[in-house]
Symmetry: D2
Subunit: 368 residues, 4 copies
């Protein structure tokens, strides 16, 4: 329970750090899509540890294998099993975690919920779990791009108190990938990188905010009243490790405007109905309106710090714990492909659901 | 598709404004629970229009009837059908909406998605849809309270730029209900009310922020990796009309702290494992940790303003539209019971899921 | 839990005998379908008690009302609430059931499972529950007919040891409705009716077999490996009250043939791939192959007999019970529309699922 | 879509013949269950090809590996990935299938549905897919046995026209495994084996019937109205390759009795409510009544025969095809563990669902 996401394009992730590997089963992928490992690996490489000096130095190639669901380079419409082996085992780095709960980590709650816990590497709570998401999301993203021309992008817009200025309509993948912090605003990217290096030197960590966008989403995706598009996007983002907040369009800041100021007036542009502003974030009444969808996701500072902290052991006795091992000082750069992947998964699922609806309309009887 | 919420305690809402009524089917309610309309009506009354001078003056008694699922005042374990008739029909007040799209409302997207739209009263996009949620949530809330002693509360903590100071641990229902804006901070409640009256006089509207809390939730609720407790809470809140953002615990503000500052140290208190701070908001790794769960939800200003606005008609031609009829200048006071209801629905579902997990453990074989 | 059926076209039935009524919520109905009560009532009339001298003489008009989901005679794409009031209350006829369990009925198991039971009229175990199915199925059937030209039919082919000869390919609705037992083989229909009257006179009951068919189903519906078309049809039929068996195509009798005898050879007919026999029953590998789908459903004799029977009371003490009230001596004639309704629900859901699959294929890239 | 089974204990199978392997993800397994490959392998060995002279001589060890979900020999409560590599690749044996459709096989319908088909070994339509089911079912079976003392068994009771006499209450696993056809009636087992060898010599195949039983199921499992226990069992069995029919308890034969003859009288036995006969098959009103659950499943003769048969090629042109390769002359012996596995999966899921229901009852308020 709880390890599947999506209705019609559904992923189920599996795997722990320090076990036989991690991966995903993708059920509901349309058949006849050209698909090889090369379609998935680039996003995994962007998620990979050790990719830059501001990520954890752990060495894992995260090489993906497709075990099922394709034939002669095309999808069969059957479940696709994607597998990444675990490579860099260092259980000894985690031995203290066997008996102590890391503050603000999931050690205590997992132990309490399940009565057991794979402490080496954090087990299922490791960020390695997101490999399955990124792999499944890469497939969804490809379908969205090739079938509907949808472009999905994310980038870092804030690290602690360093804010970037990024226009959701125009920033490019090239700009995002032009620096290791994945911030397209080159005026602040260096400062973000420096900040991350500073806190790492101090044995500390930082968090920040990621902007996610989807451009070219057709009008009409989203399933009110509960599966509104922003509700499913919100759930997707809040299911990512370390995320603490989600806002669509104007979000929390929109509260400062009155209704007359906040509303997006409609206009006619090139024969299409458009809005002159986009405080709605591309979604109205839970349904895409054809404008660019954009949202922001808050990620807390990484819980594992290289400083002595107060905690309790598994017997409930008070003790202290100092982080060891190789950890990210900031999850943001590696979380960018995760945000993109989850966005793709939500959108494709909703696109297929709307397609099913339209397919059931007795066409000859009535037109829109 | 999209009108059901929950796995084991599942509600399905139905109904439009200006039709035969609105309501909900509750499937999965435990049997033998004492239940009559009197258990549900109080929360509906708190959601009702016309309850105060800062809500819409529409007159609807919103009297609930139970059509199925109970026998001799107790639940049967079968589906419970709750129905509220529509009363205050004024389709003429909406006639202009038949041919024009209200800016930042769902008129355009519904028309585009479905090719048809019940324009009187906004049809399914009316806030009347939330009656089913509040009714179903009232049942969930009762079970949580009587079975686990869980207390669920919400209150208004911000209206536009007026901020309240509210401690999630201590504010009471009595304080919330002591004023019509449902803000327990009496030092600002009057100012909030004045502000709402001012913007209404100007034909405008305002939004704000609601704080939701759940006290007494057992350790161990939440289903990683996708159905994390905060992910499902986030989805629930973002599925409410006019909501634009959700943050759990420290949320977006937590980004300004370093990891060492942000972490919640564990300690032993009265023989239980507790945290000395609660920036996690009662959830770690997607699972409740026994501390108070708290989160904030942003609601945008109401889209229907009594001012002339630019828009297009259903033929895509540019025109203007001025709001008419009886609308809320601010949804916040009436949204408080909605937030509570959705919180209860999420928590009960997760409580039952965890119970199912524990039931499957071959007890004699192994203990925690 | 357990009161919903379908993924994309989903019904949730609700209601007990002797309560506020029975009904259904239909979620996922395509928008813009012309729909009024007149589309649903005819199938309900075929299910209604008191329709002939071989059904229960209970008088209920079973008049359906649509409370939501339509506007100006067309569906909105939002949940459709269909409601039938209960009319003929006679709780006194069931008073003995309050304290005694009817043999082979659901009284004991409901009491054991839920710890409570609505004994008047059997509560939720009453055949009245199927009203919601028939109502929802009538909508599905209309869509299948108008959108894909699919014809769904069922008829009685066996009552106790009286067997009819019916060709799944050719029997007509007119023939089925030409007699009160709903058997299109006029050579045995009278004998079936006599038999039912005989057993009723003796205070006893009989069962039989219904044949269900679907003609014109496109090739390619069905979702292996678990949601095979025959698996979902089987589940649908076995969820009907009193059903004890299901077989597709050659079924249990097919076991008497060898593989060479049983296989359906392919041939080319009018440019299409067809089979020269149809022992597969229109489904191969869980997917429709374009031939007529046909299956048989066994219904046991009605459990309520007007004879003294050994049983126990709610305290577990042995006693006897003799059926009273107005019951069907044979469910078969009234079960025909139930079988049709469930068939329609399964097929429409699968048709929409296949449509969603096809919608996701990047068309320009590859053709079949 | 369609590759998952279960709500609370959910398996998702994946894999094709002639690819990277086959397997299953099990989500919802309770934590702390001792589990190693040795718990799963025995059932896989009973399903394995080449196990006797009446199964296909294909050589595959079907050795299972657990890649995730356990730690130090116990389950974590996280997804369990079970993987069996494919070993005996002989695509050349299937080359003719690349261009011709085998009669009564799934070649044509898969090609029509997906527009692509993994023809070597039948791809996803291969019986190898059931490895994932048997592996997942072995875990469910262990939990049912250790947590509730439930015993699940199946056996062959008919091969073509050779019928066995088997009492669902008393036959034992030892008796089932005492011969290679898995029929506990030793008076006919040899005749069944001979018959299978005869038809194989003739290049032909046979089908038959399997009896499935579950002993010791608690009263109260099953979720009316749609997820009745027999409905879910029926779906499970009809999702198995080559199954054509399912009947619970008296099944189709029960139609020959009157109600008075068919009903199971209740009595009091050792302080418990029991029935003196069991035509209900252990389920009444969709809910287990504490008696032994038993049902029968019809399997058609294997479609692949070593005789020339009429068919069409992928261009729709008429041709002939003669089976080649190594196939089972009768699936029954190998289907016995499949029936057991699916039975276990259905029962555990329902047991957990009922546990969730009971957990939600505010205990101090009311007792049964």
């Amino acid at each position: 329970m709880g390890n599947s996401f999506g209705q019609l394009f559904r992923i189920t992730t599996w795997g722990e750090s320090h076990g036989g590997g991690v991966g995903v089963v993708v059920d509901g992928c349309p058949p006849r899509l050209p698909l090889t490992e090369a379609d998935v690996q680039p996003d995994l490489d962007r998620r990979r540890p050790g990719q830059s000096r501001i990520t954890t130095p752990r060495k894992e190639s995260d090489t993906v294998q497709i075990l099922s669901g394709t034939f002669e380079g095309r999808t069969l419409g059957t479940p696709i099993l994607l597998w990444v082996k675990n490579e860099d085992f260092r259980p000894e780095a985690y031995s203290e975690m066997a008996s102590k709960f890391r503050p603000s980590h999931a050690d205590y709650t997992y132990q309490a919920k399940y009565g057991i816990r794979a402490w080496p590497g954090g087990g299922r709570t490791s960020a390695r779990e997101t490999i399955g998401r990124v792999a499944g999301g890469a497939i969804a993203r490809k379908i969205l791009r090739e079938r509907w021309g949808i472009e999905i992008l994310a980038c870092v817009v804030q690290v602690k108190d360093v804010h970037a200025t990024v226009d959701p309509e125009t920033f490019t993948s090239d700009k995002v990938e032009s620096n290791i912090v994945r911030c397209p605003d080159s005026s602040v990217a260096d400062r973000m990188i420096e900040l991350i290096e500073e806190v790492r030197s101090a044995g500390d960590t930082v968090g920040g905010v990621i902007l996610g966008v989807a451009r070219g989403v057709p009008v009409g995706w989203g399933e009110p009243v509960f599966d509104r598009l922003e509700a499913d996007l919100g759930k997707a983002m809040l299911s990512l490790p370390a995320s603490k907040g989600f806002e669509i369009g104007s979000g929390f800041a929109g509260v400062h405007l009155t209704g007359a100021e906040h509303n997006d007036p409609f206009r006619k542009l090139n024969g299409r109905i458009r809005t002159t502003s986009n405080r709605s974030g591309g979604i109205q009444g839970g349904i895409s309106n054809g404008e660019t969808i954009y949202f922001r996701v808050a990620f807390k500072p990484v819980a594992t710090v290289m400083q002595e902290q107060e905690t309790v052991d598994i017997h409930g006795e008070e003790t202290t714990l100092k982080g060891r091992g190789r950890h990210d000082p900031c999850v943001l750069p590696r979380a960018v492909p995760m945000v993109e992947a989850m966005t793709a998964l939500v959108l494709l699922d909703h696109g297929l659901r709307q397609a099913a609806r339209e397919a059931g309309i007795p066409a000859p009887v009535l037109s829109k």
